[in-house]
Symmetry: C2
Subunit: 455 residues, 2 copies
């Protein structure tokens, strides 16, 4: 029997009461978002018709290292948190590695992923501001589920534009969202101008995330007491997700764990950014030498093969321009079961840290990722989401390197969600029909050609 518990679950009194604002400790800040019409830095008032005021304030905050979690939001957090930090004793045994492996598991709440951390915060602020409804989009469905749960709790109406093909392929995701009282509209729809236009041009389309975003924003813009919310990429989303990193830091300090490597999957970057926030803050201040590794699918490799450039956040080219690692908003990711990682860009904060050499990145093909997922599931008892399994794969590879070098390193990775709703993907892995797609250089060039001319 090992001395350290298998699961470290913080007591409620030890839970973090503040978020960690990475931008307050970065030596250089990411360049500001630009207004798409003027190409001048966005002002808060540019964003007010779309986003809640308090969230815009957080988005722009570059001075406060800690931002207090409001009491009424903490009451929600203590319902769904802490998430456990788990020592992967069984995985270590299977890998026969001297490395110590830990994972921070965000999948124990009903929404099944870390998304609920920011959904709750965004809905809380909307409620405080006196708003009555919110709109958003969802692709894989994790974000829509999290939003539906948070809106049910705070009593806010929710309309979710769900990519039509997802709504059809994932009826259970739809069922959860509706059980929590969310209204689902398959996108494109005839409820918006942009939707009607797309339907007219292409009646048989299955929709896209870009289109769903445009529809959700249009609805928010047209109503006084309604705003739009986004589940990743933006700075205030990373801020809310820093609760993952803060809990991890507190657990590490309490149990004397000193990580050498921290790993997370990276789609828009909110899970990875949240996990590493306080640790990379200390790294910037010269207090540790931790390696940070973001893991992406080989089919959508924004960090490993993208360009650091100003780009739109949506394929409809309506959002402010963000300076980020991107494949171009016109890049069409090839099919991949990790829907949450199929995004052309990357959080501007993470992009800047990557650009400045503070974090590393790697990419894997999905068949290798599922191989890692299944061996993890069998020995650790948790069925991981395809997205999260990218981090598992990288952690296994690092642990194997430790075995080969005889080094006893401490590895922490983020297990951002469960695979309960991704069983179609596991079925295709189990029956051997899963295939890997890697974009060719020509595919990438096509995506880059969609980049706006700014720099």
């Amino acid at each position: 029997m090992n001395k350290l518990p298998y699961r470290i679950t913080l007591e409620e009194k030890d839970l973090p009461r503040k978020w960690y604002n990475l931008k307050a400790v970065m030596k250089e800040l990411p360049p500001p978002p630009l207004h798409p019409a003027t190409l001048k830095p966005c002002k808060p008032e540019d964003l007010k018709p779309v986003f809640c005021e308090k969230l815009i304030e957080q988005e722009m905050n570059t001075t406060d290292k800690y931002i207090e979690i409001p009491e009424k939001l903490f009451e929600f957090y203590r319902m769904i948190r802490p998430s456990p930090l788990i020592r992967a004793y069984n995985l270590e045994k299977v890998l026969d590695t001297p490395a110590e492996i830990y994972y921070k598991f965000e999948g124990t709440n009903t929404s099944g992923s870390h998304k609920l951390n920011t959904a709750a915060a965004q809905v809380y602020y909307a409620k405080e501001e006196g708003l009555t409804s919110l709109t958003t989009e969802t692709g894989a469905g994790q974000w829509g589920t999290a939003m539906a749960m948070a809106c049910a709790y705070y009593g806010i109406d929710l309309t979710v534009y769900m990519v039509k093909v997802s709504a059809e392929q994932k009826p259970y995701r739809k069922a959860v969202i509706e059980t929590y009282g969310g209204k689902i509209i398959p996108s494109p729809s005839d409820t918006t101008e942009v939707g009607r236009k797309i339907l007219e041009e292409n009646p048989g389309t299955g929709g896209s995330l870009g289109c769903a975003i445009s529809e959700a924003i249009e609805v928010a813009l047209k109503s006084k007491n309604c705003r739009y919310v986004l589940g990743s990429v933006l700075d205030h989303v990373l801020l809310h997700q820093s609760i993952i990193g803060e809990e991890t830091r507190i657990a590490c300090e309490k149990f004397g764990i000193e990580p050498d490597i921290i790993i997370g999957c990276a789609g828009g970057g909110s899970n990875f950014g949240g996990l590493i926030a306080p640790f990379i803050g200390d790294r910037i201040a010269g207090k540790n030498k931790i390696r940070f590794i973001g893991v992406e699918p080989a089919s959508c490799p924004s960090l490993t093969r993208g360009k650091y450039a100003y780009d739109f956040g949506d394929t409809g080219k309506t959002t402010p321009l963000l300076k980020m690692y991107t494949l171009g908003s016109g890049f069409i990711p090839s099919p991949n079961h990790a829907g949450g990682l199929r995004y052309h860009g990357m959080s501007p904060v993470l992009s800047k840290l990557y650009h400045d050499g503070y974090i590393e990145a790697c990419a894997y093909e999905q068949s290798k990722v599922f191989e890692a997922a299944v061996s993890f599931a069998r020995c650790e008892g948790i069925l991981p989401a395809p997205e999260s399994s990218h981090a598992i794969k990288a952690a296994i590879d690092e642990a194997v390197k430790c075995r080969e070098a005889g080094e006893k390193k401490t590895i922490i990775f983020g297990l951002s969600g469960t695979g309960y709703f991704d069983l179609t993907a596991y079925m295709s892995y189990n029956d051997g029909t899963m295939t890997d797609y890697i974009p060719s250089d020509e595919d990438l060039e096509k995506g880059f050609s969609s980049l706006p001319k700014v720099d």
Copy 2:
């Protein structure tokens, strides 16, 4: 902010290291199981071709109040346990009740339910005994999932006979079981004599739990290193599930919680029996006055409308006879989404306690149960399994009585699993197509006519 934490999660050092054996403290024991051919009490050797030896020993143990959890099994338990005891602050607020409500939530492990507690134990003992494979049946799929996880961990081959119609309607359950390496055979199948016979007589049949049990037992009987395992009803299963009650008791003592009422859903009875074990032991010893309420579906009311009689455990009439509250093994429960509660009989231990007046029972129609489930989901953030939602409904009713009487009682209920895999049921509730079926007295008489002539 309330003083008591929202979630009580025991530290690993406080976890129970022993199971609680209810039979050692009962004033009168349940009558013994009878051999179906001789109608004489079963001897251990009668059961050896079917069950693991250690489990038969536990099944027969009426003397040891505590039975030690083996070290290598504890290593599995500490991976999936403790489960949290959660104070339902939000539900209390919604109900505006002076009652304090707590729930013990067994759905945080990948299998999604309490079934894993006994699956792990049964597979562990099979491994210790040198067996190489196990067979079982599954209907709703929770038990098959739990068995697949435990078998993957301990390295035992698993064959699951899955009711054909379930295998077709629940491809995702099948996918999880296969991801964990379990082999699924839709039942009836051509792999057994009994299966071939049934297929010959009725080629289009969708199968039944009774038939799946018979197939699984036949395969176990024919192989030297293979045994059969069962997920509920039997005494050793209740013993393993007493870990739920022991954790709850320890948490109550640590935080000064004194329950007045403990509620659980009851199908075969293992979840309810496990939750109440140490508390009802104290009740028998005159140390408390707790009310214990078992909740069943109105469509399958074995406690509330059944007979206390010797009956077969399966519809194929091959198992030993158990003295229990039963609707008759020939009773065909009308459609209900709580598949785990669609069983004609009830644990002999619980049946005896009910017969002797230690526990109460009530029954609800499923539309009322889902109404309770949805309001619980919206305020407490957990999507409950249909089975578990029966306990929610009863707890809500008791809490409302407290409001009306102005009484501050303490209610604990068992939330045995999540509804992740039951979204078809939620869909039918959401779209208003869910209907209630209550068996008529004639339906019940038909079931009773299948009872064997023993008493």
